[in-house]
Symmetry: C2
Subunit: 337 residues, 2 copies
DNA sequence: CTGAAAGCGCTTACAG
DNA sequence: CTGAAAGCGCTTACAG
């Protein structure tokens, strides 16, 4: 079925293409009678303007792109939900791409720029060592919003949580529960979020007069269950007197719990465990997991709202004032602590 | 930064726009020297043709759309991964929309058709009672691929699993483990997948000479954890001698397990439990869950491959021969059975 | 082998 | 208030 065009509508109504277009785009210089006639007819024949032509003329696509890690991940699932919901409300479509490394990130950004999306939402890959590709985005009049893993130097609005504070809350909670020998299973050495969570851990110990011990810190770069299990095993063999574990992801925490259960080490009496992110599973496990709730959906919505603001500024040819929105996290206490 | 156009390239090389375009589109009637010169220059200045213009001319967008349920869902996460991966390989972009009911489904399809995507991938909402909106897709020269929850009457290629057979495998497994009083927590009465899983359950009982009892069947429409817990409670209060449960989702199964554990009913000795889908959590729970693996990623890839085939046929103005691809499932035995 | 010209379906500055 | 015309950046049938 060939789709209708403005021309078809104009001919059917004995009007010019210009007039029809104006009616459809809420121009003021048009009689309300004509406008109504056009609107009625358009509705009747179910006409919608060709997006390619509109985009070509207006130079805007009403599409945004988001690059997410290449794995099934509860937090990103929720984040995506938030973005898509807000996008739909505002008549935007969302293209989803995957990337987990710097090279691919570059390629995906190229793809999105080529598609002339109006905005790109990005959480940096762990190994993204420069930000040339981010600068390319700004240069091409596309709004960039960074979230979660952001670059401090790249110029753009950002939506983040306060990782340091969240980690601090988690560790303080363990201390308040009477724990003193608290280990930390951290992310890699590069990503800022891993660094911040580590700093939150360390500072909170020190603030409470507890000595920081590097041998209580294990790196679980992938943040998966297996690494948590392995780290717990190593840790407890070396230091059987550990009484708390703050893990940088829920999965790592669950791995640690699996080891503890296997060793018949009681949770939380002997060892308290706190995770990070509040994945769906955390509530279902036994013992259920105390964790930091990282509100993905809320972040997603914040990302899109910020995008709309920045886009508006950009369209007005004004200078964008980059904002960093910090989304509140909170501790969810459950059975593991 | 204003992006370059074909015209800019042509001027810089002292050629016509036509020639440049031909070089870029692998036309044969062009000297290889000229072609090379163009390709080199284009590469040097990092030019890519404006997609809006190309799409407007070619009437194809190189974008596909997928409509998924409005919730974080492991299976759909994996499916999406498969689709996106395959799409990227073929230089397609993927727009993701959400819907969980008939009305919204209609709106989302309109959105995608308006965007003139080349293909739409859809799993029907539970309450989608007609297929007018699916017919709209075919009418507008867009390829429709149905997956998972498909309509038997709607004309399109489909990617599914054999729900009846999978359910049968699950129930036979419980029987082989010595269970005889096997309950079924099923989905709603409408969706075909729920019906098929139920039929698989019932037939397998009968094939093994076990009487089918309607009071052993509970409806857990939402398929979540809470409904599984509640159903288990009701079931076991009425029939304390139940020795097996086949749940239509992993979450329902996990809810049932939570109740059983709370009642100190031993799993799998007293009651064996089998779920459906093989979500990530199933392996992590204690006891870990026996379940049917529903290979989301594989399905996603199959969906995209079928789309490419059907699109090719459509472009050639030939009649599409609709295919239904059945993806193999398998039982993953774990501690719960 | 190269290029002039038409046209995809819109929006918008301008004229009346 | 209405409309003729230019132009967004491409592709392609056609001429030479």
């Amino acid at each position: 079925m060939k789709s209708k065009t403005l021309k078809d509508i104009a001919k059917a109504l004995n009007l010019s293409v210009t007039t029809v277009s104006k009616a459809l785009n809420d121009y003021q210089d048009i009689s309300s009678a004509t406008k109504q006639r056009i609107l009625d007819y358009v509705k009747k024949v179910d006409f919608t303007p060709n997006t390619f032509a509109t985009s070509l003329r207006k130079k805007e696509s009403k599409i945004v792109g988001i690059i997410v890690p290449a794995m099934a991940h509860y937090f990103f699932s929720k984040l995506l939900q938030g973005i898509i919901e807000k996008a739909e409300e505002n008549n935007y479509l969302v293209i989803v791409l995957r990337s987990n490394n710097y090279e691919l990130e570059k390629i995906q950004i190229r793809r999105l720029l080529k598609q002339k999306v109006d905005g790109i939402f990005l959480s940096l890959a762990d190994n993204s060592y420069d930000i040339d590709h981010l600068e390319e985005i700004s240069k091409s009049d596309t709004v960039l919003i960074q979230f979660d893993r952001v670059s401090k130097i790249a110029q753009s609005s950002k939506v983040v949580i306060n990782d340091r504070e969240a980690a601090s809350t988690a560790v303080q909670h363990l201390i308040d529960r009477g724990k003193r020998k608290i280990a930390h299973f951290r992310g890699g050495l590069m990503p800022q979020v891993a660094i911040d969570r580590f700093i939150g851990y360390r500072k909170t110990l020190e603030k409470n007069g507890i000595e920081f011990r590097p041998d209580y810190v294990h790196i679980c770069e992938k943040g998966n269950e297996t690494q948590g299990y392995d780290a717990a095993q190593k840790l407890l063999k070396q230091h059987p007197d550990i009484d708390g574990i703050f893990a940088h992801t829920d999965m790592t925490a669950l791995g640690a719990i699996r080891y503890l259960k296997q060793q018949k080490i009681s949770i939380p009496e002997k060892v308290g465990v706190v995770g990070f992110s509040n994945w769906e599973v955390s509530a279902l496990m036994s013992p259920s997991l105390t964790t930091i709730d990282q509100p993905g959906k809320k972040m997603g919505k914040a990302i899109f709202s910020q995008f709309l603001k920045d886009l508006k500024t950009l369209k007005a040819k004004e200078k964008i004032e980059f904002k960093t929105k910090v989304i509140k996290t909170q501790l969810i206490q459950r059975q593991s602590s």
